[in-house]
Structure formats: structure tokens, C-alpha cells
Point group: C2
């Protein structure tokens, strides 16, 4: 069993994406959003089978934790009401994918967030989604889209969401969205900077003293963190916190969205494999073939397999860790094969 912990519905039908623009146009005009479009199962199947499902099969993975397109969350556009309606629409669409391919695409939800909005709407949507079979959520640490106006993840304003996550036993992937700031390219700067920033917020704070069972996945291989692991160990020492292993790494996990072999080798040599979840971010940030290898940049399974991990560690990275971090995943996988298209 190979589980990709990081897949997005980047290939959603055009009508879905167009509705978001219509919704925001209406919001700007002070009008009501139009009705959400009809999207057929066949349209969904086509968008998935020629993309994510094809690649999943070609590369040899079995299941993907599947969430709405991260860059399209765009919590900085509109307000909390539009963000809520958009999150619901995106999550409902992902739920349909999961329903068409049970146990292959396992749904993870987008949360309604907005600058200064608090977490009540996010809690409500998380509850709705988990009741519908979602196994985790994506939490945006910067709903401003690159202006970084939100307090750190350790601030008490996030606590209502963490409380509900703990009760429901679902983790969050800490994932920013598109950049509204010309200083930050989304996938080349904002994503990696946010991963790095989120980790350091957790080092500075003491969030897991209050939430010892909370689990957070930092994507894109943890941003700059594993490459600078010595810096973080030294900073933890300077800050007088316990060592990283006890202070954060009981609760924080990195995915393997690092698009070359040396990066994956570093990740898996520096970070305890128990903290690493296989992920590809596919179809996503970097499409195309690496001319130095002849293989797609985002075929991270290839790098992970070539990293020389002991068999037990490799199994943990490819599946076991995901099953532990996302406890509701096991039940979702048991429905595997029940779907028409599987």
C-alpha cells in the first residue's frame, strides 16, 4: 500500500473555476452569487482519469489524500462569506471525486478563512466535512495571501479549530494559497517560505503543551527546515526550549514534495523517517520532465524508493505514517475497490 498524502484537485472542471470568478464578481458588485453550475460525473471522471488517476497508476501509488487546489483557496479574495461558500463548493466537489473512486481519492478539506475572521466558520466546515468522510484539513497560516497579517499558529485565536481537530482526531496540513504580493511567487517562494515560517512559529511557541495530540503536516519537505536542521537545533537551544524531538517532532510531519534526489536524500537522512509522509503535490506545482533524469520532477516516489531506507522505514514513509497521522484514513481505504471506476 502506497499513500500519497498530498494531492490537489488542480484539474477541476472549468465550470467550477469559472463559478468562483462569478461569485467574486457578484460580491464586488454587491449582488448574490449565481447558482453553482451542474457538473456531471463524467466531467469529473475525465478530469481525474486523464490526470491524477493516470499518474497515480503509472507511478505505482494506491491512494491519495486529495484536497481542493491550494492556490485557488485564495482566502484573501472576497470575505468570510464568499470564502465559506467557496470552501463548501470545493469540498463538495472533492467529496464527489472521493465517491467516484472510494479508497483511491480520500478527501481532505479546505477551510473557510479570511483575514481577522476567527475560526468559527472553519470549525463548522471541518465538522461538516468530517461527517461526510473527510480525514483531514488544509489550514492556511496566512489568509492575507502574502501580507502575513495573521498571528502565529501558536496564537490562541487558532485554538477553537485545534480543539475541534483534536476531538475529531484529524490533522491539518499547513498550506498557504496564492500570493497576493508581487514579492512572492506562489510555488517558488510563498509556499516554501510559509513552510519554514510555520515550523519556526512552532519552535518559538509551546503549542503542543496545550494540544499534545494535535498533528500538523508541513508540506514541500518542510520548506527550508531539513536543509537547515542544525540552525533549528541551535535556535531551539538558544530559545531554551526542549530539543526539537520532544518540543515539536512528536506532532509535526513533513511530506516528500522535494523534486530531486539529493533533496529527498537529505530529508530522509536528517529527519526521523517516522516524521516523513510520502507526498507528490501532483498534479501540481512543477509539471515537466527533469532533463537530467528523464523522469517527471514530481515523481517523488522514485526518489523516496531510491533513498536507501531500511524496509520498515520505507513502509512507514509510504503508508504507515499516513495511517497514524490520519487515523480516519484506514476506514476510507477499506472502501477501496467499491467504486465503479476503480
Amino acid at each position: 500500500m502506497i499513500i500519497d498524502c498530498h494531492g490537489h484537485y488542480t484539474t477541476a472542471p472549468a465550470a467550477h473555476t469559472a463559478w468562483r470568478e462569478q461569485q467574486l464578481d457578484a460580491w464586488h458588485a454587491g449582488a448574490s452569487a449565481p447558482a453553482y453550475p451542474q457538473i456531471s460525473d463524467d466531467e469529473i471522471r475525465e478530469s481525474i482519469e486523464s490526470n491524477q488517476l493516470r499518474l497515480l497508476r503509472e507511478r505505482g501509488a494506491d491512494a491519495t489524500l486529495f484536497s481542493p487546489r491550494a492556490s485557488a483557496m485564495a482566502h484573501h479574495r472576497g470575505d468570510l462569506a464568499t470564502s465559506t461558500a467557496w470552501a463548501q463548493a470545493c469540498n463538495d466537489l472533492v467529496a464527489r471525486v472521493a465517491g467516484l473512486y472510494p479508497g483511491t481519492f480520500v478527501p481532505v478539506c479546505q477551510l473557510p478563512q479570511a483575514v481577522g475572521a476567527g475560526s468559527e466558520a472553519a470549525v463548522d466546515e471541518l465538522e461538516r466535512c468530517v461527517a461526510a468522510g473527510f480525514v483531514g484539513c488544509n489550514l492556511n497560516p496566512d489568509p492575507s495571501g502574502g501580507h502575513w497579517t495573521a498571528p502565529p499558529l501558536t496564537d490562541r485565536s487558532w485554538y477553537p479549530l485545534y480543539e475541534r481537530m483534536v476531538e475529531l482526531d484529524v490533522p491539518a496540513m499547513i498550506h498557504v494559497s496564492a500570493s497576493d504580493n508581487p514579492a512572492f511567487h506562489a510555488t517558488g517562494a510563498h509556499y516554501l517560505a510559509a513552510d519554514t515560517t510555520a515550523f519556526m512559529q512552532l519552535v518559538q511557541g509551546d503549542l503542543f503543551a496545550d494540544f499534545p495530540t494535535l498533528r500538523l503536516v508541513i508540506p514541500h519537505g518542510g520548506g527550508a527546515v531539513p536543509y537547515h536542521w542544525g540552525r533549528y537545533r541551535g535556535l531551539a537551544d538558544m530559545l531554551g526550549t526542549p530539543d526539537l524531538a520532544t518540543h515539536v517532532m512528536r506532532n509535526v510531519f513533513f511530506d516528500t514534495c522535494v523534486y530531486h534526489q539529493p533533496g529527498i536524500d537529505l530529508l530522509l537522512s536528517v529527519i526521523d523517517p517516522v516524521n516523513v509522509l510520502f507526498g507528490s503535490e501532483m498534479v501540481g506545482a512543477v509539471r515537466g520532465v527533469d532533463p537530467t533524469t528523464g523522469h517527471p520532477f514530481d515523481d517523488t516516489l522514485r526518489y523516496v524508493r531510491a533513498a536507501g531506507l531500511p524496509a520498515a522505514d520505507l513502509e512507514a514513509v509510504l503508508a504507515g505514517n499516513a495511517l497514524r497521522v490520519y487515523p480516519r484514513l484506514a476506514a476510507a481505504l477499506r472502501s477501496r475497490g467499491a467504486g465503479v471506476a476503480n
Copy 2:
């Protein structure tokens, strides 16, 4: 000859640091700043000999490119006038260090910057400093201190500074200062995020078409960039730019401020050694001894030496590249040994 390209005067005499606060207090009160304090040569010697010079000698380096404390630049505090007076005071103090230890501490200047201020004051201070023997400058890509309100480094508003840098044949290290944003820890998040962000700005733009001889050093091992080198190669491909080697790596250099062996090994295996300059950021971001090695985290010379580079590449990383990137450095090193304390 071993040249550390990244040292800061983090141990400046207390009167210097206190004056900055007095200056800002006066500015807030609408009053004139007090006179800059008298600081004796002995005070400077003591601050250097017990810290940077001691460590330089213990670890076996010969010279340091030495600039004012980066976190204290704080371009977000006060206005352009206070920033200019502060840059002059800091640079004058660094010039005194360089005068006391010629060829051992080679001066690099801080620039007067402020949000939306343009680059005229920076150009003036750069000219003043280079005339006084400085060999490079530190350029802050985010004078707002973590709010990221400045345009990307490829924006034409930066061009007057680049034009003068090219004429004077001095490079810039792209180095942010303290964080005024609670989301960003300075040395654990803002620095690395800024390095990553600056690199991606250069990938997105085409700055070196306009300035083919401009040279920029991105510190802290290039932030997240070498760890995610596959991502950047793939993004360059998606953006339709020439490959990174021709598009940016003729002009961009990374230092070795990465505080553990696996990070340095990755840096030197992924990035052409011709683009890497030995640096330690010492005495700086991470003080303390790594319990896993028994050596200081920031003794990066140890990691670089252990990385297994061929002799010619090692010489280039330890000295040759710095001499090429900072052409005025050679003349400064020829004065080595002329000082009293050397």
C-alpha cells in the same frame, strides 16, 4: 588563504547600540538626535579580539568580509533620514574595525533604506563607503521588516543602485534585517524566507539581461533553494526562462551558512562550487555547541572541509570565489599585517 564572506559586527560597543535607541527616541519626539558617542579604539579591540578575531583564529580563517549587524539595520524603524545617519554610524564603526585589523576585517557596508524611499541615499552611501575602502554592500529586499511592501529585486526602482554597483564593481549580499512581524522569527524564518524569495524573484525576472556583470550573494546557503533545486529547475522550465545556469547562476552566489554537515554536503553537491562562498555568519545567528558533534553550530569551515570537495573546488569556495565576486577584496588583503593588532 581562507576568507569568510559573511561576518557581522554583532558585538559592537554598547554605546553605539544605545545611540541608535536615542536617535529613534529623538525622532519620535520630533527632536534632533544626540551626538554620536565617543568610542575608543580599545573598546573596539576588546569587542573584536574576544569574539570575531578569536574565533577566526581558532577556526583557521584569515579574513572576514565584515559588515554591521544585520538585524540592527532595522530599515523599518524611523525614516530615511534616521536610516541614513544610522548607516553612516554603523559603516564608520566597521571602517574603524577594518582600520585596526587591515586585511583581516574587510569592510562591507549597510545601506540607508526605508519603505518607498528610492535608492538615492543608498547610492550616496555606497559611493562614500567604497571610496573609504569598502568592497561590497548588504541590500535589504524588504525594508518594511517582514511586511514585504517593496517591489521585487527585479523592479526598476532598484536599478540606480545596481548601476552604481556595476560601475564600482562591488556586489551586494541580499540580507534582510530584524522582523517587525510577529509571524516571522528573524533568524529562524525571516532570513531563510527572504533568501528563498529573493532567488525566486531573480528566476521570475530577467535582471541580468540588463546587468550582466551584477553580482548578488544570497546568504544562509541560499535559504531553501539548494534543497529544492529540482523545484527551481522545473519552475524555470515552466516559466520558459533559460536554464538556471545561464539565467541566474552567472550572477548569483550562495554562502555556506548552513549549520550541519548534511546541509553543507547537499549545497556542495547540488550547486556548482563556483557559486559557493565560504561564510559563517559569525558571531551571529546561532551560538552554541552542537551536542551531536561537540563543535559550534556555526563552525561552517569544519563542514566545508569535510565535504570531500576536490582541492581546486575547495580553494575556490574558501577564497577564490570571494576574490572573484568581490574584486576590491584583493587590494584590501594586500594591506594585511599592516595593523597594530595583527
